[in-house]
């Protein structure tokens, strides 16, 4: 390989990425107190002496959080260890105690891996428990921490349980980073450990990015990229950062190890605090908590309760559908938890590709999981048998989800039936006659090979015909007729 995979123009360089993913655990209460773990409530309503760090208060460990952490560990093939909590000391106003309770040299999970759909394996260094901080809002002035008139702090999030999942530096392309985070998210959802919403901050990703010449064994100096709020940001930021580093090295400069923040609008990373000036966190064992040593029986119960993981579910569905596990419909079916439905419909004789097309495009809706496999199979059967057009099938499917009724009943009620070719041709002829100059344009564009104009005009005629047929025309049949008429006209 001569270039960074997925980035043009970076010949001779290899990208090395390690990812740190923080996910908020889906517990009922916070990590060390009984306050609700709930997003979106009024500021400072889910607080108590413990999560506010009031003098004299003491933490008590939430066992549900430990269990979810163990679940994550086992889903990522980690070894679950006896672990201890430590204090990470630094001053910051959103942190009520001015230290964060985290796990340092003895994390609960270590030495695992995650297999990606493309067959690559990313090592998991550790996945440890820690508490979240509060949230600052800087108001007035510049609106940033420096130069704001004042700051408001919401401690609702302070003490919410987090698991930080640290990968080995095994990721070699922006796309692989995206796939890793997407796969991790799917697993977290599947095992019920987190709602893993990047946009709400319940899943946060930092990327450690470095580059090195191909063939060099030693790692380059890395920069930690923060403020990645979507998978798109992750990919763009890694691309940008790789280019920046290669450009610097190309002109003989050195990379400074530092934290950099992704600026989504500007499409670039900016230097934050450099590691040389970084704080000394003075970690030491948290004396207010006792070590966590889950017994063998607890661990066994957690393992027994683990659901089948997404990778295995993709394999099963792909096998049933006769498709690759990487097929987007297969991936999406598992992501949406609709793989059992899809397998059921396929088993009932429905065309796998049609089934997965519906899952991928038409079932990203509330209540999709209530759909019965037999009903979906019946719908797909009507569609492949010519009784419904693709458009009609989509409409019927939406009604099925909304009402729970069967496809035949809905189709009959809506008056859906496949239009016979003669009737459709008459409508097409009418449309051509009524729009003679557009038709002439259409024929000319087609002859000139002007795809852009042709596409526009095809849309124009399809619209007219759909309108005239009250949506009962089959899109594919319309297209075929238009092509045939054009060939006749030429």
């Amino acid at each position: 390989m001569s270039a960074i995979h997925g980035i043009d123009g970076l010949d001779d360089w290899e990208l090395v990425v390690g990812l740190e993913v923080h996910c908020e655990l889906a517990t009922a209460t916070k990590l060390f107190c009984g306050c609700p773990n709930q997003f979106g409530d009024d500021p400072n309503t889910n607080v108590c002496p413990v999560c506010l760090g009031l003098p004299g208060s003491l933490p008590v460990l939430n066992h549900q959080a430990v269990e979810l952490a163990m679940r994550i560990g086992r889903a990522l093939n980690c070894t679950v260890h006896p672990s201890v909590f430590a204090r990470k000391n630094y001053f910051y106003p959103d942190m009520p105690k001015d230290y964060q309770v985290s796990q340092y040299d003895q994390p609960i999970n270590a030495d695992g891996w995650l297999d990606l759909p493309d067959g690559s394996r990313i090592g998991i260094t550790r996945a440890h428990l820690e508490e979240d901080t509060g949230k600052n809002t800087h108001a007035g002035g510049s609106g940033r921490i420096h130069g704001a008139d004042y700051s408001l702090i919401d401690y609702n999030r302070a003490g919410v349980p987090l698991v930080e999942i640290v990968s080995e530096p095994d990721v070699r392309s922006p796309e692989q980073a995206r796939t890793y985070v997407a796969e991790l998210r799917t697993i977290l959802l599947a095992i019920g450990a987190s709602d893993a919403k990047m946009e709400e901050g319940s899943m946060r990703v930092d990327a450690n990015v470095s580059v090195r010449p191909h063939g060099q064994a030693a790692f380059g100096t890395r920069c930690e990229i923060k403020n990645l709020n979507s998978l798109r940001s992750l990919v763009r930021a890694i691309e940008y950062e790789a280019r920046r580093q290669v450009d610097l090295l190309g002109t003989g400069e050195r990379i400074h190890q530092e934290t950099r923040h992704w600026d989504e609008e500007a499409g670039r990373t900016r230097a934050g605090r450099s590691k040389e000036e970084a704080e000394d966190y003075r970690y030491f064992q948290e004396p207010d908590l006792v070590p966590v040593a889950p017994g063998a029986d607890w661990l066994a119960r957690v393992e027994a309760a683990l659901p089948v993981l997404p990778a295995a579910r993709r394999e099963t569905l792909a096998g049933a559908a006769g498709l690759a596990a990487t097929h987007p419909g297969v991936v999406m079916a598992v992501d949406r938890g609709l793989d059992d439905l899809a397998r059921g419909a396929i088993a009932a004789g429905a065309d796998p590709v049609r089934v997965l097309t519906h899952v991928e495009h038409n079932l990203a809706v509330e209540g999709a999981e209530t759909l019965g496999a037999a009903a979906l199979a019946e719908l797909v059967g009507m569609e492949t048998g010519g009784a419904l057009t693709a458009t009609q099938a989509k409409t019927v499917l939406a009604d099925m989800v909304a009402t729970g009724r069967g496809p035949a009943e809905i189709a009959a009620e809506r008056g859906f039936e496949a239009m016979d070719t003669g009737a459709l041709e008459a409508i097409v002829d009418e449309a051509i006659a009524a729009n003679a100059s557009e038709w002439a344009d259409y024929v000319a564009a087609s002859a000139a090979g002007d795809d852009k104009r042709l596409k526009k005009l095809t849309g124009f005629f399809t619209g007219k015909i759909m309108q005239a047929s009250k949506g009962q025309a089959d899109g594919r049949a319309v297209n075929e007729l238009l092509t045939r008429k054009r060939d006749g006209a030429a």
Partner: protein
């Protein structure tokens, strides 16, 4: 029955009489408030006297007795609380400017247990700021004086609690002991002070100094009263993860059980250099008294105990540097404005903390720093392990150990205030127990050459409160 050297009846007597309807809780509280009025201006045991709420609580106790109810084992007994114990809605200062204006929204677990037992909180007592000190001279609100001689310190850091009991302001008080802060002032003021096993009494609501060492414990005029109070506050608390989940035995029964056959070892390492001869003589006399009562007395060795002071002054400040980080001016207490958040934090902490607290925060920050951790904090933890092992070996041969509580009797104001190391040395005998997480107590046993009280320390293994109190009961009788 009256506590020696104290004008008030014992807590046990008060509670028994109040429960029987033979004594008014209100009259008892009024009498103690009268004693405070008469001498508090000299002693300054309290940061806050809670006269109104104490009278109201006493009236409620009397009403319950009148209604045929039993208000509990401490019915109507006035008690003074060290001002680092959280009291709902009542200022809790730790004798520091930094907590100016802060009122906890909750009660410490011990405070709740006292209320359930019928005790009446009469005030919050003075201490060395954040419990850091051995003379109560480090209080932001001025020192407390020793009721036995107002020219001398009461010890510390729980000097206010010790003085309150010694002056007859209350038959009982609670203190906290991180390196000797209950036992040392008890010895210097001539009262009984108990540092229970780590985890026996919930720390929930005790403002932390050094979390792995802090423990709440009783002050009392008599061993029996200390045992009675310990019985009320001991026991598992789900709010404290380090709390021991085991049934609490009867401590009051242990006090009169005698020492027949009890194996008592005198800690040789704590009887040598630095211990005043008159203090050493009292410990030897105590050993003789125990032997005369049927104990088998021998010489014990805890070699690592001599390293206790050094290890303690790394571990305790390290934890303190972290525990005291939260006083940053953001959420409560003192705030001194600054141009930026970090300048505000720096200004607030500079103005809010006294010199000794700053010294320990800096020591602790240094001990935990990258590059120094192994040499300082890490090594101190190893010493701690050694001390635990040495105690374990000693307790294979002995049921309890004996030593002085303090190297000298109470010193004069200013005598050690400018020499931190000399001040730290006054805790040399008490610190090893905290590092081991074990119980120990100080019992008054006569006077030194200057006529000031001498305390004898009885040490016991983890959850060895019963044999410890048996020995203490015998010493108390022998001292009469």
């Amino acid at each position: 029955m009256t506590a020696p050297g104290s004008p008030t009846p014992t807590a046990a007597a008060i509670a028994a009489e109040v429960r029987a309807g033979a004594r008014s809780a209100r009259a008892t509280v009024d009498a103690h408030l009268g004693a405070i009025d008469a001498a508090e201006a000299t002693i300054h045991a309290f940061n806050l006297v809670l006269a109104d709420s104490a009278r109201a609580a006493a009236d409620a106790i009397d009403a319950r007795v009148a209604a045929g109810e039993d208000p509990g084992p401490l019915a109507g007994v006035p008690i003074a609380l060290k001002d680092n114990l959280c009291t709902r809605g009542v200022p809790t200062t730790c004798s520091s400017r930094i907590l100016e204006g802060w009122r906890p929204p909750y009660d410490a677990t011990v405070v709740t247990r006292l209320a359930t037992a019928g005790a009446v909180v009469i005030g919050k007592t003075n201490l060395d700021e954040f419990a850091m000190g051995s003379s109560t001279e480090n209080s932001a609100f001025g020192p407390t004086r020793n009721p036995r001689d107002p020219e001398r310190v009461p010890g510390g850091s729980s000097g206010g609690s010790a003085a309150a009991v010694a002056a007859g302001f209350a038959p009982l008080a609670l203190g906290s002991d991180t390196g000797g802060s209950i036992r040392q002032p008890a010895a210097l003021c001539g009262v009984v002070g108990v540092k229970p096993t780590y985890g026996l009494v919930s720390r929930y609501g005790l403002v932390a100094f050094a979390s792995s060492l802090d423990q709440i414990g009783p002050f009392a005029g008599t061993v029996g009263d200390a045992a009675l109070l310990l019985e009320v506050i001991a026991g598992h608390d789900p709010l404290d993860s380090t709390s021991i989940d085991q049934p609490v035995p009867s401590y009051t029964e242990a006090v009169g059980a005698g020492v027949d056959g009890l194996r008592v070892g005198i800690v040789s390492e704590l009887m040598g250099e630095g211990i005043a001869p008159d203090v050493r003589a009292r410990v030897e006399a105590a050993a003789e008294a125990l032997a005369a009562a049927g104990a088998e007395v021998g010489e014990a060795s805890v070699p690592a105990a001599t390293f206790g002071l050094s290890a303690y002054y790394l571990i305790a400040p390290a934890e303190a540097s972290s525990n005291l980080a939260r006083y940053d001016g953001v959420r409560y207490g003192l705030r001194v404005d600054g141009a930026t958040t970090s300048e505000m934090m720096e200004a607030s902490r500079s103005a809010g903390f006294g010199a000794e607290v700053k010294r320990r925060i800096m020591l602790g920050t240094y001990a935990l720093s990258a590059g120094y951790y192994d040499a300082f904090y890490g090594k101190a933890l190893k010493v701690r392990t050694l001390i635990i092992a040495d105690f374990a070996a000693a307790y294979e041969r002995f049921d309890v150990l004996l030593s002085p509580t303090t190297p000298t009797t109470a010193f004069r104001f200013g005598e050690k205030a400018d020499d931190p190391l000399a001040m730290y040395l006054s805790d040399v005998c008490t610190i090893p127990t905290n590092l081991a997480g074990q119980p120990a107590m100080s019992v008054p046993f006569g006077s030194g050459a200057d006529g000031m009280p001498v305390g004898v320390q009885i040490l016991a293994p983890t959850l060895g409160e019963v044999p410890m109190l048996r020995a203490a009961g015998v010493l108390e009788e022998a001292a009469k």
